[in-house]
């Protein structure tokens, strides 16, 4: 517990350094674009693949479970949609991205630390924490809504794909279900949540990487610790944000 508060204090101090008023130099734009590529664009493929398959599987499970003739068939589409919109395209996607983006950030910054690249930056009078981390945080948070929407769309397409193989639900039922009692706020809710998660993923992983001491083995350990901590933090934040936003 004492350890937790030590980390928390150090993490908050780290954030204060990252979000200091930025120094002017000609490198920011270039840095921002690079990070947009690394954290955002490079996550598109995994988002699409995972969402498509999970969407398909959820849809199959729904139509498998809803066999009672008294329950309308459109419920398959409706429940697939709501599972995707409420939880899957935000929380589950972010947990997967914690593994990809989080460990990537931690190991990148960690190896810069152990190879003294961060010291070199400090010697040049650069706020290294800010220079390295701020572009990552901003670009990942900015790109997150795109990933969430993409995940929703491909998840629903995955469901549609599985419907074409289903014997007891028709595409018309599915599409009716998608439209039935549609609540646009679910999308807003998901996006708000995920932008928070993006902040957690990028800052916590950067924190672990930035304070690595030792060598390559410690960098590996830091990126494992990152994923564990980030996943737990996402789940806790999910609980709190859901309370706050949905009740």
């Amino acid at each position: 517990m004492r350890n937790f508060f030590l980390h928390l204090g150090k993490y908050l101090a780290f954030l204060a350094t990252v979000f200091e008023r930025p120094q002017r130099n000609s490198l920011w734009g270039q840095q921002f674009l690079k990070e947009l590529q690394k954290t955002g664009l490079n996550s598109v493929a995994i988002t699409v693949i995972v969402s498509f398959f999970i969407g398909a599987v959820i849809c199959i499970q729904m139509s498998y479970n809803i066999v009672n003739p008294l329950i309308p068939r459109y419920l398959v589409g409706l429940s697939t949609r709501d599972v995707l919109l409420l939880e899957l395209s935000s929380t589950v996607m972010c947990i997967i991205l914690a593994g990809k983006v989080g460990s990537n950030i931690a190991s990148e910054i960690g190896s810069m630390r152990v190879s003294e690249q961060i010291d070199a930056m400090e010697m040049m009078g650069v706020n290294s924490a800010q220079f390295l981390v701020l572009p990552k945080v901003i670009s990942f948070m900015a790109f997150m809504p795109v990933l969430v929407l993409l995940s929703m769309i491909t998840g629903i397409l995955g469901g549609a794909m599985s419907i074409t193989f289903s014997a007891n639900t028709t595409m018309t039922d599915y599409v009716n279900g998608l439209q039935f009692a549609f609540e646009p706020y679910y999308i807003t809710y998901s996006i708000i949540k995920s932008v928070f998660f993006a902040f957690i993923i990028s800052t916590v992983s950067a924190y672990y990487g930035y304070y690595v001491e030792g060598g390559a083995i410690e960098v590996g350990k830091a990126s494992t610790k990152t994923v564990v901590s980030v996943v737990i933090l996402i789940l806790v934040a999910d609980l709190m944000l859901t309370q706050l936003l949905l009740s």
């Binding site: 000609s26 190879s115 690249q117 010291d119 010697m123």
Partner: protein, 250 residues
């Protein structure tokens, strides 16, 4: 000139440097020597402010680094070049971008002006026409040269080199040492060089500070090095039989 006064540094209660006072002269290579783990790197990093120190003062000519305000500190850092033990080139940037980095941070020059300076420095360290390679694509000796180019690109008054020839073959080491020596004299730089390499000590250093058990155990001009009867220093210098017969000469 850099003057270090009563510098103490500890990590988690473990004293690494104990009351170190010395002077590093301009236009000379001031070698800091000692066994691995004796605290040479910690000394450099404390003197440059990368480590915060427990007590003491570090004067760069008339400016005390300790307690300097942020902006003044940035101005002082602009005059310090540093060559790290592992080169510390940014591996996501090309050689050109690496050497240009300090210019991007500290100057408002146009790209053409910056490029001109970068190419001048790369030529000075004998690495012309390598601008678009990445650090991982060149050898260790070449990485050292690029790191030197990056360290001198802002025309520093002070240059710190942490074991500049660790991991290099003897011949390449000599070339790097000579390069540092030439640059030091050419631009009248105050160069501080950590080393435990006998060649560097005897071939290029002007002043020598010997760190032993966290203390400055011996300090003096290089030509006095072999004439001292400091037991620990002699043990350190003449541990190899090959060098033992060099004792007494210089």
């Amino acid at each position: 000139m850099i003057r270090v006064e009563h510098l103490c540094k500890s990590f988690d209660g473990r004293q690494i440097l104990n009351n170190v006072s010395t002077t590093f002269n301009a236009g000379q290579i001031n070698a800091v020597i000692g066994k691995s783990g004796s605290g040479k790197s910690v000394l450099i990093k404390s003197v440059t402010g990368l480590h915060s120190i427990d007590s003491g003062n570090v004067f760069y000519d008339d400016t005390n680094l300790i307690g300097l305000r942020k902006n003044d500190r940035k101005n002082l850092l602009k005059q310090i070049g540093m060559l790290f033990q592992g080169c510390a080139l940014f591996d996501s940037l090309t050689i050109e971008e690496n050497v240009m980095f300090p210019l991007d941070i500290h100057t408002t020059q146009t790209r053409a002006e910056k490029l001109k300076r970068v190419n001048f420095c790369l030529e000075r360290v004998n690495m012309p026409n390598t601008n678009h390679l990445f650090p991982s694509e060149i050898s260790g000796g070449m990485q050292k040269r690029v790191a030197i180019a990056r360290a001198i690109v802002l025309n520093p008054k002070y240059l710190f080199c942490d074991e500049p020839n660790s991991g290099l073959d003897p011949q390449t080491s000599m070339v790097i040492d000579q390069l540092i020596k030439e640059i030091t004299q050419e631009y009248n730089i105050t160069t501080v060089m950590n080393t435990h390499d006998m060649n560097s000590i005897f071939e290029v250093s002007d002043q020598v500070a010997f760190i032993y058990q966290g203390q400055l155990w011996w300090n003096g001009p290089r030509n006095q090095l072999t004439k001292t009867d400091n037991a620990e220093l002699n043990d350190f210098l003449f541990s190899s039989p090959l060098l033992r017969n060099k004792k007494g000469s210089s």
